[in-house]
């Protein structure tokens, strides 16, 4: 998975994002709307919790038996006329796909939005091989036209509002209709017209999959716009890059996951389109089908008893929409195709904690637990975050100074006399704050605290001191 080049640690990236008031308005507007709708869609099913617990149990069972289910999936896809490839990492997956596109004689492919190929950086790899990859999901198209990065799992351009998108289309789309306004239906119609000829002429389609059914060799793609159906149906060759954790044992499991995913994701009873196919159907759709099974850090994640639950994720993005940290920082600060709470636990596990951003992600949370509450597969994100933090502290480097701070707090809080003295000293700390009334940076070793937090300036007088002086008379 790409660690975006020069990506600073989360606190630095977040500080910049939080200062962008347009971004915060766009995010608050979008996430507030979807939160309300999701709650309503979920509330309609009185057995939601039972569905959620069943999904968790199915996923845990499947992950514990991947050694059985993956070969079974391979066998059934092959029987149905598809070809299965295995990729240990991103580079191997990209090489397989590039070869297949070349064998098909194409220099252009149409793509359905796919997290797996975001993760492998497939578009960049194809471009290096002289193959143009056209993103056909509206939000992915907005990101691609703007040379931007995705900031949300479901709606990668959530950080852009209609005015920004209108400006982008008028500037970059050579066939944009004259007089194109910022009206979302008009913008959507422009995208339809722009992509129509690409779909009709496409010879190779590339997708991911939401689910892969081991028992039948069926792949499932859940979408809204019909760009998925176009890419999965019209080209002669279809290549689907799918993480090994996407496998489900049997057809019947769809009754659980198709109930959970649309309601969690777009807050609909069902998404507009779902395509299900097994291998090749003579006379209908692509006659050349390839499934690329991707590891890329998933088996490492599987080896972690606490962290492996992140592999249950079905990429609905409900956790992003309820996260107070995500709502303020946006997705870019997470420096990964997987932003938000799930990204904070998934990215460091898939990539390792070698970079500043990955080492800081376990701390990119207030641990409020809203993400766990809405997760349709009951991933206990706070539990994994706390575990990763504990490991980071045990490793002993980054947050050593925080340990000193907490040790000192314990000493002070154990004695009322010491607390009163400390509070008097703290009031002088007001003078460290700038005009914003916030303390941005304390000198070392206290800088370990302020490096990851902005602290409000202490009041001139503590409550204890005020009470001692006035006895609550308000004087």
């Amino acid at each position: 998975m790409p660690t975006y080049l020069g990506m600073p640690a989360f606190p630095q990236a977040a500080k910049k994002a939080v200062a962008d008031s347009q971004l915060r308005r766009n995010l608050t507007h979008a996430t507030t709307a979807i939160r309300t709708k999701r709650a309503k869609a979920v509330g309609e099913l009185d057995d939601w919790e039972q569905l959620r617990q069943t999904a968790k149990a199915i996923k845990d069972h499947t992950l514990a038996n991947l050694g059985t289910y993956l070969p079974r999936l391979e066998e059934n896809v092959t029987k149905a006329g598809g070809r299965v490839h295995w990729a240990r990492d991103a580079a191997e997956a990209n090489a397989i796909v590039t070869d297949l596109v070349r064998q098909a004689g194409a220099d252009k492919v149409v793509k359905v939005k796919s997290m797996a190929t975001q993760e492998t950086g497939l578009n960049e790899a194809l471009a290096a091989a002289g193959i143009a990859a056209i993103e056909t999901d509206l939000a992915e198209l907005i990101v691609q036209l703007g040379h931007d990065r995705p900031s949300h799992i479901l709606v990668p351009a959530i950080h852009r509002n209609r005015a920004e998108i209108g400006e982008l289309f008028r500037r970059t789309m050579d066939d944009a209709p004259a007089g194109l306004t910022d009206d979302p239906p008009r913008l959507t119609a422009a995208a339809r017209q722009h992509l129509r000829s690409e779909f009709l002429a496409a010879t190779v389609g590339i997708s991911g999959a939401n689910f892969a059914i081991a028992g039948t060799g069926s792949l499932v793609v859940v979408e809204s716009e019909g760009n998925g159906r176009m890419c999965l149906t019209l080209p002669d060759t279809l290549i689907s890059v799918v993480g090994i954790e996407k496998v489900l044992p049997s057809w019947r499991d769809l009754e659980v996951f198709l109930a959970l995913l649309p309601r969690s994701s777009t807050a609909e009873r069902m998404n507009p389109y779902t395509t299900i196919w097994s291998g090749v159907t003579p006379g209908d759709g692509p006659q050349d089908f390839h499934l690329v099974l991707l590891d890329n850090g998933r088996t490492d994640t599987l080896a972690d008893a606490t962290g492996r639950q992140a592999l249950r994720c079905i990429r609905c993005s409900a956790c992003l929409n309820v996260c107070p940290v995500y709502e303020r920082t946006g997705g870019h600060a997470y420096g990964s195709p997987y932003p938000g709470p799930i990204g904070a636990i998934l990215s460091p596990q898939l990539r390792g904690v070698g970079s500043a951003i990955d080492a800081s992600l376990p701390f990119a949370s207030s641990l409020c637990g809203a993400c766990y509450e809405v997760c349709p597969v009951a991933i206990n994100i706070p539990e994994v975050l706390v575990e990763q933090r504990a490991r980071s502290v045990a490793d002993g480097q980054k947050h050593y100074s925080e340990r000193i701070v907490f040790g000192a707090s314990g000493y002070v809080l154990r004695s009322p006399r010491r607390l009163a003295a400390a509070q008097r000293v703290a009031s002088f700390g007001r003078h460290l704050a700038g005009r914003s009334g916030r303390i941005r940076r304390l000198p070392p070793p206290l800088s370990a605290w302020t490096d990851t937090r902005d602290a409000p300036a202490p009041p001139p007088e503590s409550f204890r001191a005020w009470w001692a002086r006035t006895r609550g008379t308000g004087q």
Binding site: A30, W86, A157, E255, A259, P272, Y273
Partner: protein, 218 residues
């Protein structure tokens, strides 16, 4: 056997332990508790056809309930504005009985190219199953439905759902299908929420979805 395959399977064994015998895995799967309800509506107390009509209309599909006898006239009225209509193999001829004699009916024989399909105004099909709970139509692309591209490229899709095809819930709908076939689940016309999470109907799939629900009696 590719080296990558062997290595990934070895990593899985290292992470999750050696693979159990398939029969053991299947038994463990069968024993998984499923405390959810496979049916959210009691068919004796709920009019599932009415529920389907209501939920499909929620997505801004045009939904119309007719009797079997009224069906040919309803089909003719629905496709009247279209310049050309695609007719998949196996579509019951009686559904087309009331079409005007000059109607431009197109067959997929020999198979039309994608650009050829793009020239056609609309398509009439049946379906395999429908789901009342979610207002969903499922095509398995068998007789009267055509290969997948036929219901994708033209901008207007008229689908006839017979009352007996409406399942109450997702579970019983899926159980009626053959997993070996390709399937398309359709819930309203194509839509996007990619701009400010506001739903806009009509993107790449047919922008007009018209559903005729045919019952023996009203």
């Amino acid at each position: 056997m590719s080296a990558a395959r062997e290595e990934i399977l070895a990593r899985i064994r290292a992470a999750a332990g050696p693979a159990a015998a398939p029969a053991e895995v299947d038994a463990a799967y069968a024993a998984l508790p499923r405390p959810y309800r496979r049916a959210h509506h009691d068919p004796s107390a709920t009019d599932v056809v009415a529920l389907f009509a209501e939920r499909a209309a929620d997505y801004r599909a045009v939904v119309q309930r007719v009797t079997e006898g009224e069906l040919p006239a309803a089909v003719a009225a629905a496709v009247a504005p279209l310049a050309s209509v695609l007719i998949p193999d196996g579509l019951p001829e009686e559904w087309l009985a009331k079409l005007p004699p000059g109607a431009d009916l197109v067959r997929d024989e020999p198979p039309l190219s994608a650009t050829g399909l793009d020239q056609i105004s609309g398509v009439v099909t049946g379906c395999a199953v429908a789901i009342a709970e979610t207002g969903t139509i499922i095509l398995d692309h068998g007789p009267a439905q055509g290969r997948r591209a036929l219901t994708l490229v033209p901008d207007f899709h008229l689908v006839v759902v017979r009352a007996g095809q409406v399942a109450a819930d997702i579970a019983d709908a899926l159980a009626r299908l053959d997993p070996a076939r390709p399937h398309t689940l359709i819930s309203g016309p194509s839509a996007t929420s990619d701009i400010e999470l506001i739903r806009v109907e009509g993107v790449h799939g047919p922008r007009n979805l018209h559903i005729l629900i045919a019952s023996l009696s009203q």
